[in-house]
Structure formats: C-alpha cells, structure tokens
Symmetry: C2
Subunit: 154 residues, 2 copies
C-alpha cells in the first residue's frame, strides 16, 4: 500500500419513482425542488449554498450538523443531457478535511409509467478508513434517495 492510502469504490443505486421523468429531473435541476431533499434535514442546517446547474457550473452545500460537525459538498457539473443524465464531480469535506473525490452519474428514464432513477458513484476515499467511508457514502446516498422520493409527494 502507498503511504498515502486511497480507497477506490463504485456503487450503483436504482429507484423506481412514482412521478414523471420531468418531475424527477426537476429534483436535480431546480434549486427549489432539490432543496426539499438535499442539504438541510432534521439534523443539519445549511450555512452556505450555491447552485449553478449547467455544464461547468458549481454547487456547494456547507452544512452544520446538530452534533457540531461541518460537512462541505463542493461540486462541479461536467455533463448534462436534458432529461437524461447529469455528471458531476464533488469533493466532500468533513470538519475541513477532504474525505473524498467522487464522479457521480445520475440517469433518468421513463419505465412502465414510472421513472427509473439510477445513480452511479465512482469514488476515491482518502486515509486508512477509506473503505469504511465508502460504505458510509453508499448508505448516506441511499438515505438521500429516500428523502428525494418523499419530496415528490409534497
């Protein structure tokens, strides 16, 4: 192992959502709809937020958690095909420490009257706990998709 450990991991999550593809797309493309499920929650408040949904545009969500922890999602969009896919790269910081760099692909498609959402994350996680953090990221992302699904009913 190199002195500087980097753990590489990929996960894919799929959800069939009871909403139109346009509505699911909006949950990523529109700040007001994304804010219903991403960032703020019962345990965290957003301290700083930027949102520029276009190729090359940046997004940021700096959050303060109830236990005092700070997380900082710093994202850049690399590819957007309207209604079909979104690729972005994000650095994730926890307490000012860069935990990971990830390439995320969101794919949206009509499926049997519902909408299939697929997210693939190809990540590089720093440090000796990289494998644990990769597993946690997959779990956390699954939780975000639960929140996204719930937000479609609002």
């Amino acid at each position: 192992m190199p002195d500087s450990t980097v753990h590489h991991a990929t996960f894919t999550l799929t959800r069939d959502l009871d909403a139109t593809p346009e509505r699911v797309w909006g949950a990523f493309a529109r700040e007001d709809l994304k804010s219903r499920w991403f960032g703020a929650n019962a345990d965290a408040v957003i301290v700083e937020r930027t949102f520029d949904f276009r190729p090359g545009g940046h997004e940021r969500a700096l959050a303060q958690w109830r236990n005092g922890m700070m997380t900082d999602f710093q994202c850049q969009y690399h590819d957007i095909v309207e209604g079909q896919h979104i690729l972005y790269v994000y650095d994730m910081f926890v307490g000012g420490w860069k935990m990971s760099v990830s390439l995320a692909t969101i794919q949206v498609e009509a499926k049997d009257g519902k909408t299939r959402l697929t997210i693939t994350e190809q990540g590089a996680y720093f440090g000796e706990k990289g494998a644990m953090h990769a597993a946690g990221r997959e779990q956390g992302t699954a939780g975000l998709l639960d929140a996204l699904a719930a937000s479609l009913n609002d």
Copy 2:
C-alpha cells in the same frame, strides 16, 4: 438501458520503474518532464497546452493527429499530496465530441529500490460505443506509461 447511454469502467495499471520516486513524481509535476511522454508523439502535435499543477489548477492538451483527428484533454487537479498521490478529473473530447469524464488517481511509492507507479482511472464513457472506448482508454494509458518509462532514461 437509459436512452442516454453511459458506460462506467475502472482500470488500474501498475509499473515498477527504474528511477527514484522524486524523478517519477517529476514526470507528473513538472511540465518539461511531463512533455517528454504526455501529449506530443510521433503521430500527434500539440496545438494548445496549459499546465498548472496545483489543487484546483487546470491542464489542457489539444492535439492534432496525423490522420487529422483532434483530441482535447481538459483536466482539473483535485488533490495533490507531494510525492505520494495526485487526483485529477478530465474530460476527453475527440473531434469536439465529449467522449468521457474520468477520475484518475496517480500513486507513487518507493519499492525495493525502484518506484512503483499505480494509476487508477474511474471513468464514465458516453454513447453506444462506451465499452469499446473504455477498453481503448486502458490500452492508450498503458502506452502512455510505456512512454513515461522510456522518458526516464533520457
């Protein structure tokens, strides 16, 4: 499959190089040493080149190939730990078409008096030929590492 096909693929290549870790690191960190193996070759000339090796810095190599093809490597560095690892994300364009977005990790470590170089690329390749292009990228990267190894003898 979504209408907008994205093929995800990861490859890892390792080389034990007969040079010091400092010299191998320089092959990525110094523009003059990188230019010996990356970009220009017997079949391509560099039309435009930028090189800003620091976290957040950009690199670009726009190349014209003997057969007329244009390739455009557009890179941003996301993490650099001196002498240990380099993470960068690059969009690759061929003939103006975005072929892929990749997260690359370079790791350098001393190993039995030589230097072990490991490159891991986690890529998303667009279009119906994505799997073919992923295989080609791995092959092309292996060729680049051959060129890097040869450049160390200069």
